[in-house]
Symmetry: C2
Subunit: 332 residues, 2 copies
DNA sequence: GGTTTTTTTGGCAGCGCTACCAATTTGCTG
DNA sequence: CAGCAAATTGGTAGCGCTGCCAAAAAAACC
């Protein structure tokens, strides 16, 4: 079966059927401008009768400014981004905006290509992760005239709107917490940092903080793939095989940390007395493990919500710091 | 700062700058129709020079059929749906389609409203979860003339295309597996089944299978909220408090099952000798727990991929069964 | 060189809607 | 009931692009 367009009902046909002008139908449907009660009823009756569905493509083209919001996100596997989308989509739906998205796989080149494709839809705003974009991407976005929202990072200069928190501060506070608890021989298990630059920022300020307190990082294990529970488990296993006397390990995020936690459970390594574990993100699952995971809870859903609200309200350029919360947990 | 449209470069301006006609620019840009090599170069040079970004809104309006694919999904918290989106978006991006989405929160009324909003964008296809839609939704979709893809369920009649697997079969096989292992006093812990009808189908065929083998369900605990690790833990705790001598528990999905698993770990309940645990979904995390989770692995990403491929290829109506895989694991 | 083909090109009418403006109707005031 | 303001309507020119058609240019052929 080849695709066949149904004969679509147009606004003009509704106008005809209702015995009014096209612009009147348009006004009624958008509830914009003035019209009498009976006109409204006649139009609505015709709409109902014909099963009219407005064509937003045509509407958008004719009017200035669209109600599309474009998300260009690195991944859908990392729960962070579905969470952001979730927060944003609720707000956007309420305001009759439509979300469109594409996934870059943490590849800046792909980000540029996808951003270009997105701009072709003339969105009201483009939402991106963080500040690291190619020159081409920045130039394009700037030239597009649409709002630009950078999410989940505040360590840098925003192009327009930024919503999130400081990853550097998160790394710093994580380190400070471990030091305060008396850990001195600290290691790191993480995933590919070149791609996930926010994890990279956390890691570097984590290390700096350790050094500033004369307890430099003792060992690290960086795994090539994406973050995952299995990689966390594998990473900790490797790190422990190589580095002795570790008393705490910082993970690039909770997925990885849970992997490490499971490794300890499986190997009978006492937590936190023998080895402390600290994560990042504050996933729900970390609250339900036998020992709650020590981590930093990030405002992922709120980031999406606030970002969407600012776009809907067409707010002035600004950086909104939503902060984060350190969860002491029981693994560190 | 109020939103201000930049003076946008149009195709007509590019044509002017390149010294060719509008249709020639259009042909070159879409690589469609014929044009000479030098024309191509001149056009591309002008595009580059002016920083022209095609307007897909206008393009879609002018041509027949759009390259938008609409997803109307129940949730972004349940990893199932991000996984489906992930699979689909890769295929769609390769084919220059654009994904748009909205979230129903498992509310059929909201699904209807959002589907209507989606149709206003005249998508090439609408992708929905499962078969349970309101009469209004079905009528609208049918009338729209766009492709309809129902995902993750095959127990029912497809409107057009369906991609997924049988949830009833999954429930049946889960029960058969537990019975084969010798468990006879089996309980269930699940989340709200009215909303998640696919979980409901699994549960009912699970129960039927147990009854057919003279080992009817011994107890159940249904939690009001969404599925989550914490609810799974809480659910199992409640069920155990009420029902004695259970030897196995079936969970509505892996999130819930992990919660149950953690409860057992925390309470020192030996798995599987004292209590067996069986989940559903086959999340990666279940492979990394000290004892791998016994579960059914569902082809979530593949569901998205295949669905997208069928839409892109404009395939005839069909139901594609991708099956599932029973993971024996070590918890049952 | 003169045709006949084939390839390349430009013009222009929409796609379905919104924004603007002018026309019409209604409501009030004195 | 004239006289004017306010509320309601319809007409229509685009929005930026694609698809069709006919014209022009290039290539192929006798």
């Amino acid at each position: 079966m080849e695709f066949k367009h149904q004969p679509t009902v147009t606004l003009a046909e509704v106008a005809e059927a209702a015995g009014v002008g096209e612009s009147t139908v348009s006004r009624v449907l958008r509830n914009h401008g003035s019209f009498s009660g009976k006109t409204r009823e006649r139009v609505m009756a015709a709409v109902e009768r014909l099963g009219y569905v407005p064509n937003r493509i045509a509407g958008t083209l004719a009017s200035t400014g669209s109600r599309l919001v474009a998300f260009v996100i690195p991944s859908l596997s990392n729960i962070v981004f579905p969470d952001v989308l979730r927060g944003a989509s609720a707000v956007l739906e309420e305001n009759r905006y439509q979300a469109v998205f594409s996934v870059t796989d943490y590849d800046p080149g792909k980000e540029e290509a996808l951003a270009a494709a997105m701009l072709a839809w003339r969105p009201a705003a483009v939402m991106l992760a963080g500040y690291e974009h190619t020159e081409g991407t920045v130039k394009m976005l700037r030239a597009s005239g649409c709002r630009i929202v950078e999410l989940l990072d505040l360590d840098g200069d925003a192009l327009d709107i930024a919503v999130g928190f400081s990853n550097r501060a998160a790394g710093r506070e994580s380190a400070a917490f471990l030091l305060k608890r008396g850990y001195r021989r600290i290691g790191y298990v993480g995933h590919d940092l070149n791609r996930d630059t926010r994890a990279g920022k956390r890691f570097s300020s984590f290390c700096e903080t350790l050094e500033a307190h004369d307890a430099p990082l003792v060992g690290r294990e960086i795994l090539a793939g994406a973050s995952s529970v299995e990689n966390g488990r594998l990473g900790l296993e490797r790190l422990l095989a190589r580095t002795t006397d570790l008393d705490a390990v910082y993970f690039s995020n909770d997925d990885m940390a849970l992997g490490g936690y499971f490794h300890c459970l499986a190997q009978g390594i006492a937590i936190p007395s023998k080895l402390a574990i600290f994560g990042y993100n504050g996933l729900d699952i970390g609250r339900a493990t036998p020992q709650p995971l020590s981590t930093i809870r990030t405002p992922r859903v709120a980031t999406g919500q606030i970002a969407a609200q600012l776009v809907v309200a067409n707010a002035p350029p600004q950086a909104v710091d939503l902060g984060f919360e350190l969860i002491e947990g029981a693994t560190a």
